[in-house]
């Protein structure tokens, strides 16, 4: 609502500026502006009309409708589909809980927004293809998926509400707050474990080979693991880079520079081909694990550079003050330097992770079938041969939905960082 008011406010301002300009610059300028606007509108109209005509006319969306399960979970067995559905609900519940408990809603927005788009998409399908019989069937098949998504959204909302309650319950009581914090951390660990067990099977559950994981499920898994793992590694690399031990420094610099000097495709190939060579005999990890290793290695080097930038933003006086109050090197970095450095690096790191989310598409080359892989597989099915435009347009919408929410969430993260920066400046004069 406030976003809308702000948008309207913005348009009004723009309109006022324009009228002011028009008065100042006279009729030639106005004519020129009008011509430019008409040309731009015409161009946009052409593109929209072309796309629309294709989407509502020539395009045959049955390739998407018939393969929705492939797009969402890959070759995960149909009977076991409740397992990824549960995982989805667990993850959204976790993000909701975190949002409610701490007010950090970035993840919850990411999942909530992404899911909302996914939920909306199939409603467009009958609109696009008319009410053909095949569509009706596809739509019925989709209802199952819908239940899972709705359940996940419900879990998110419920956990958010409970998290907010819990945080209110603990807000007046420090030991309680610390217990809540600790319980949450343990809970997150358990949830991650539960997710892996649920997806892989074992212990009573039927085994599902990770090579059968695919589609959006795999995209999200790869991105999530690579992000969560590359962040601490990147921080350590950034610190290693300024270590006083030459070996540590050298290894960190070599890691960062080599990885940054090589395309991600190469890193993924190397992870796939080299990892089995350096690991103990007979220990050949799944392709999914190799992909996570490659993506993590890649992202960690970039995170390290972002954190290095953040470290440079920390004033020398902070080190002096930390030492002067008696903190050792570890305490100085953990309590004083890194919190400031990471806060300053958040915008850059968020951008990095948005790229990483899209870059997961490259695991195609080590024969994993995430969204892009499925798009290609689906368009090669005999019934839908050559329908690449439809499948690629479909996954483009999904990628865009998730990255759009991710970047709007990261903008929210950036705001406090800017505030802090202002605080950081020494205040030789009174501020009020």
């Amino acid at each position: 609502m406030s976003g809308l008011t702000r948008a309207v406010e913005g348009w009004r301002e723009e309109w006022a500026t324009m009228r002011h300009q028009a008065r100042l610059r006279g009729p030639v300028w106005i004519a020129w502006q009008v011509a430019l606007s008409v040309a731009a509108l015409g161009l946009i109209g052409l593109v929209v009309y072309g796309l629309g005509a294709w989407a509502f006319g020539a395009a045959d969306w049955t390739v998407v409708a018939a393969n929705l399960r492939l797009f969402s979970v890959g070759r995960y067995p149909a009977d076991e589909i409740w397992r990824p559905a549960t995982v989805l609900a667990l993850v959204t519940a976790m993000s909701g809980w975190e949002a409610g408990r701490t007010g950090r809603a970035a993840l919850a927005r990411f999942f909530g927004g992404g899911l909302a788009v996914l939920l909306a998409l199939p409603f467009l399908a009958p609109l696009v293809s008319g009410a053909s019989p095949s569509m009706a069937a596809a739509f019925a098949a989709f209802a199952g998926g819908h239940i899972a998504q709705l359940a996940a959204l419900g879990a998110l909302a419920a956990a958010w509400w409970i998290g907010a309650r819990a945080s209110a319950w603990a807000s007046t009581n420090r030991p309680r707050a610390r217990r809540l914090e600790r319980a949450s951390l343990v809970g997150y660990g358990l949830v991650v474990l539960a997710i892996l067990i649920l997806l892989r099977g074992g212990g009573g559950l039927e085994r599902v080979s990770p090579s059968d994981w695919g589609g959006l499920l795999l995209t999200l898994l790869l991105a999530a693991f690579a992000i969560v793992l590359s962040f601490p590694i990147g921080v350590l690399l950034a610190l290693g880079r300024r270590s006083s031990l030459p070996l540590v420094r050298w290894v960190s610099v070599a890691w960062i520079e080599v990885i940054r000097g090589v395309p991600l495709v190469t890193v993924l190939y190397m992870a796939s081909l080299l990892l089995p060579l350096v690991l103990p005999e007979g220990w050949n990890p799944e392709n999914v694990a190799k992909a996570v290793a490659g993506l993590t290695a890649f992202a960690s080097a970039y995170v390290a550079e972002d954190v290095r930038g953040g470290l440079a933003a920390v004033a020398n006086g902070q080190y002096d003050a930390a030492k002067a109050v008696g903190l050792g090197t570890v305490g100085m970095y953990r309590l004083v330097v890194l919190p400031q450095a990471i806060r300053a690096a958040v915008p850059a790191i968020a951008g990095q992770f948005i790229s990483l989310f899209k870059d997961t598409a490259l695991v195609l080359i080590i024969s994993l079938r995430e969204l892009l892989g499925i798009a290609i597989v689906a368009a090669n099915q005999p019934a839908h041969i050559g329908r690449f435009r439809e499948t690629l347009a479909f996954i483009a919408i999904i990628y865009f939905a998730f990255t759009a929410v991710l970047s709007s969430a990261s903008r929210r993260l950036e705001a406090p960082a800017h505030e802090r920066e202002r605080d950081d400046a020494p205040a030789p004069s009174p501020k009020g």
Binding site: K323, A324, L327, G331, V336, P426
Partner: protein
Amino acid sequence: MDELAAVPVSQAPTQSRTSDVIIEATGVTKSFGDFQALSGVTMSVRQGEVVVILGPSGSGKSTFVRTLNRLEPHDGGRIVIDGIALTHDVKDIEAVRREVGMVFQQFNLFPHLTVLENITLAPIHVRRWPRDKAEQVARDLLDQVHIPEQADKYPGQLSGGQQQRVAIARALAMQPKIMLFDEPTSALDPEMIKEVLEVMQDLAQTGMTMIVVTHEVGFARAVADRVVLFDEGTIVEEAPPEIFFTAPKHERTKRFLAQIL
């Protein structure tokens, strides 16, 4: 409650101006590349003494004070703080830093922490006090520097004078035996200098051992036991304030005083 009320200042030695030497610097030298910032500084400070260091810009005042808690390692000479000789030994350095508080010209508060967190950080993580005790001590100290109501604000929300008083409280929270001040009022507007100097004067009265680099002659006259003039990395003159300001021995001191008085 009684034990909590025992805030650092009241724990400082009650019979001040004893003769025990607590800082012993002998022939301290320090170079930055080719430039010799300290060329043999010898100074000894007794417990409870307040020493004010004056001197022109670049004369090595900051450098000397920073060698006393080893923010700058010295190249030559010997520094003994409360019986601990400063060497490369990390354990010794950290032991000295626990006993020596420092206040900087630019305050150097931790901008990502609230005032209360700034003050309790080291007591909790270095002294390993329970949080409740650390917070109680911190609140008492905020009372003592006259800003009890600012505990939950961030440093960026305070005036310069308030920030500097928080910085003093932060240093005192570790219950140091020695306090170092490096131009604590030089970044402040005139109307705030007074509030900070008052806090420092109160502190001196409790018997705290203090080394203060400052240009505030009034403070030196009123509070110092001894005034020291630095020039070109050495001590030129050293005398009680009555003598230093009225009957200096050295030509250099006279010229310096003529400039600042």
